[in-house]
């Protein structure tokens, strides 16, 4: 038996079933979708090979282009607004002496709810007639805002909901990093006369940079594949104002039966996500040195 375990082929035999399943449910569908991306398959009749037509159509499709823009809004919002908020909140919570556990749990709470629950919950908050938000506005004498029904507000409403859902998760990541920094560094700076803000900005933030990088990368990846919250809250409406790449793909492929075109869109989304994360890795994340305490 001992001899047998030294034979690498034995291990191969053990992983073979897993590889077979992986191939069946991951590699094979992926290869098939690349193939279908070049066809006009409608799910019912035989697919015809149409070359690059789907891809050309996608980039001249105004709806798809506006959905790419919407993804970019989400991306910019999560990197430029969400991440600073996450850093500040984490620093504040890390500095709290009493009830820290309570704050940690509270901010983390939204992350354990399913997106459908969050979408429906916020749907009520945004409700034009009975919603919390409009009732608040009414107190100040402002007229009702149709948050999810007006193109100029709907995207903003979704961004807020999406942020609310994910901020807590990232804060917990960040907190773990902050609390792992040895106390003596902070204390030494305190003795040297650095104020709290100075210590946070010049000591803590540089020390947790690797984690900030991870959070930014996760945010980029998250922003590119966001779809569930959009489908639950607006379905891409009103008039396509909140359509993101993935929701447009789902609508095209599943609702309107243009499977070939939908598959082509999914390939485009995949490539865009790959390129953006790679770019971030190469241009920014790699340049930073690892922090050693």
């Amino acid at each position: 038996m001992k001899n047998a375990l030294r034979n690498p082929y034995v291990y191969l035999m053990f992983v073979l079933p897993a590889i077979a399943l992986y191939f069946l449910f991951f590699i094979y569908p992926m290869l098939m979708s690349v193939y279908y991306g070049f066809t006009d398959w409608d799910g019912l009749s035989k697919p015809n090979f149409i070359g690059l037509d789907n891809f050309i159509a996608a980039f001249s499709d105004p709806e798809f282009r506006s959905s790419i823009l919407n993804n970019i809004y989400i991306l910019l919002f999560s990197c430029c607004v969400q991440v600073p908020i996450i850093v500040v909140l984490s620093l504040v919570i890390a500095g709290v002496r009493r009830l820290q556990g309570f704050y940690k749990t509270t901010v983390f709470m939204p992350s354990i709810l399913s997106t459908s629950v969050i979408g429906i919950l916020w749907g009520y908050i945004y409700d034009p007639d009975v919603g919390l938000l409009n009732n608040l506005l009414k107190l100040f004498g402002a007229g009702p805002i149709y948050w999810l029904a007006e193109p100029q507000w709907a995207m903003f409403a979704i961004l807020i909901t999406n942020a609310w859902q994910w901020v807590g998760f990232y804060i917990v990541l960040m907190l773990a990093a902050i609390l792992a920094i040895p106390k003596d560094i902070d204390e030494a700076a305190g003795i040297d006369g650095a104020t709290g803000v100075q210590r946070a900005w010049h000591l803590t933030v540089p020390l947790i940079k690797p984690v900030i990088n991870v959070v930014i990368m996760l945010s980029i990846a998250g922003a590119l594949r966001v779809v569930d919250i959009v489908l639950v809250m607006t379905g891409g409406g009103p008039a396509g104002a909140t359509e993101v790449m993935a929701s447009y793909m789902v609508n095209k492929a599943i609702k309107y039966g243009e499977y070939g075109y939908g598959t082509a869109l999914s390939i485009i989304i995949f490539v865009i996500a790959l390129v953006l994360t790679a770019l971030y890795q190469i241009l920014i994340a790699r340049r930073q040195e690892r922090v050693e305490y």
Binding site: M1, N3, A4, N7, Y9, V10, M13, F14, L16, P17, A20, L21, D42, G43, L44, S45, E63, P128, P144, Y146, W147, L148, A149, E150, P151, A154, T234, G235, G237, P238, A239, G240, A241, I254, K255, Y256, G257, E258, Y259
Partner: protein, 466 residues
């Protein structure tokens, strides 16, 4: 030698794990089959009773009669299901209720693509639904069954949207007319005339608006809802024959008359005739607003009439609702009494059936498409029959709202279909996209119409090339 032995052992172990996973599904029907036969005495070849040995089987049945407003329709379906189960030994239906648009636009297309639709399913007629699936060979050809059951000549002239090359693939359960429901209480309160002339309609809308009541309730999150209004506007402004002309090229979406329909809708949006924030409202919200008295009118299909019964969801306004067709438009073309009448919703059946299931389908059709059920649909649910009923039967209608619907239809000089049962699905999709953009103010009526015509041209060309 020992090495090879362990190698083979490991391989067997690993593969058996894989096979165990795969085997689970396959062995299932066999084991249930085993218990079925196990209940009967051990089979011997000489047993004569084997012919009436009941083989149990289940059949999936997808319906869209869910929720309070549909309860009358569900009751009829339940009775048909019960009766069919009694008639076909061993049959058990598995009812699967889904919301209409989820079924029609999401679930059923995916199932059709995968080739595993429910055995019996709620189905809409038209190029984007029944005819598309029939051409792909997914639906059962019902022509021989209709022949066998003697139902062939019982239907009104309503089977075309469900037919391909003279073969019938689905059966409409009933018909509807689309028109205006209005709240008679509110109209009385403000001294308004019933909206039977264009001037009265506009006056009513303006008066309601001034008094803080929404003139027309609408929920445009699903664009098919405002598309009902657009459809009737087109039928009236461009003539009833326009709708069927889109696919033949005889009519164009961007012709001045059709653009006028979109312009009129946009005008009403701008005047505030429709629910504010309509793009965020569901179809159900529209009924709620109307029942709550927040809106004085709504443009909807006559299927909604059963919601205003005393024991239904709209009981609050029971007896205070009336139905009229859209009044004649001052600059309309063609017959201004024409209404949209559609026999779009019905049932279709999977092409993939075994003998037992085919028997069940026949029994289901016999029970569902009977004079009795058609009359019940009319009396209890306000659905117009899709089959020929005797005048005596129709005369039994006592519900005033259903009577008004019948009056509207009887008074109509012509009827036209809904374009969702005429144009190709890509074109219909475009009408939804463009209408929502029009409501949001992103496009002008002309731009919307041009965009739709562009898709229509491409689809017509593709159809001609086939």
């Amino acid at each position: 030698m020992k090495k090879t032995c362990t190698f083979v052992l490991a391989a067997t172990l690993a593969l058996s794990a894989l096979l165990a996973g795969c085997g689970g599904g396959g062995s299932d029907p066999a084991s249930t089959g085993g218990t079925d036969t196990g209940s009967s005495p051990p089979a011997s070849s000489g047993e004569s009773g084997s012919t009436d040995k009941v083989e149990k089987f289940t059949m999936s049945l997808r319906h869209i009669q869910i929720g309070e407003p549909q309860k009358f329709r569900k009751a009829i379906l339940d009775d048909v299901v019960k009766k069919t189960e009694e008639e076909v030994p061993g049959l058990k239906f598995e009812l699967d209720g889904l919301e209409d648009s989820v079924n029609r636009f999401t679930k059923l297309p995916a199932e059709m693509a995968a080739g595993n639709p429910p055995k019996i399913m709620s189905l809409f007629g038209g190029a984007g639904d029944a005819q598309k699936y029939a051409k792909a060979g997914r639906l059962l050809d019902l022509t021989p069954i209709l022949e066998e059951l003697g139902l062939k000549d019982k239907f009104l002239n309503v089977l075309d949207p469900f037919s391909v090359d003279g073969k019938v693939y689905g059966l409409p359960i009933g018909g509807n007319a689309e028109g205006i429901f209005y709240n008679t209480d509110i109209f009385q309160q403000y001294g308004l005339n019933p909206p039977t002339t264009w001037d009265d309609l506009i006056k009513a809308a303006d008066t309601l608006k001034e008094n803080g009541i929404t003139p027309f309730a609408v929920g445009s999150k699903g664009a098919w809802v405002p598309n009902m209004t657009i459809n009737t506007f087109i039928g009236r402004l461009a003539g009833p024959e326009t709708i069927t002309g889109f696919t033949t090229g005889a009519a164009k979406w961007n012709s001045p008359d059709v653009v006028a329909a979109y312009t009129l809708y946009k005008e009403w949006v701008d005047k505030g005739y429709f629910t504010k924030g309509e793009l965020g409202k569901e179809y159900g919200d529209m009924l709620n607003d109307f029942v709550a008295g927040k809106a004085g009118m709504m443009f909807d299909g006559s299927w909604r009439s059963s919601a205003f019964k005393n024991d239904a969801v709209g009981a609050a306004v029971a007896g205070k609702v009336a139905f009229v067709s859209l009044p004649p438009l001052p600059n309309g073309k063609g017959d201004q009494t024409s209404v949209n009448a559609n026999y779009g919703e019905g049932y279709g059946f999977s092409a993939d059936l075994n003998d037992n299931e085919l028997k069940a389908v026949k029994a289901f059709i016999k029970n569902m498409y009977s004079d009795e059920m058609q009359l019940r649909g009319l009396l209890e649910d306000g659905v117009l029959p899709s089959m020929k009923l005797s005048e005596a039967s129709v005369a039994q209608v006592s519900d005033p709202l259903v009577k008004q619907v019948l009056d509207v239809l009887n008074g109509a000089g012509a009827t036209f279909p809904h374009f969702d049962s005429v144009v190709q699905s890509k074109v219909y999709t475009e009408t939804e996209t463009q209408l929502q953009k029009l409501i949001a103010g992103n496009v002008t009526p002309q731009e919307a119409a041009d965009a739709i015509q562009k898709v229509q041209d491409a689809e017509n060309a593709a159809a001609a090339a086939e």
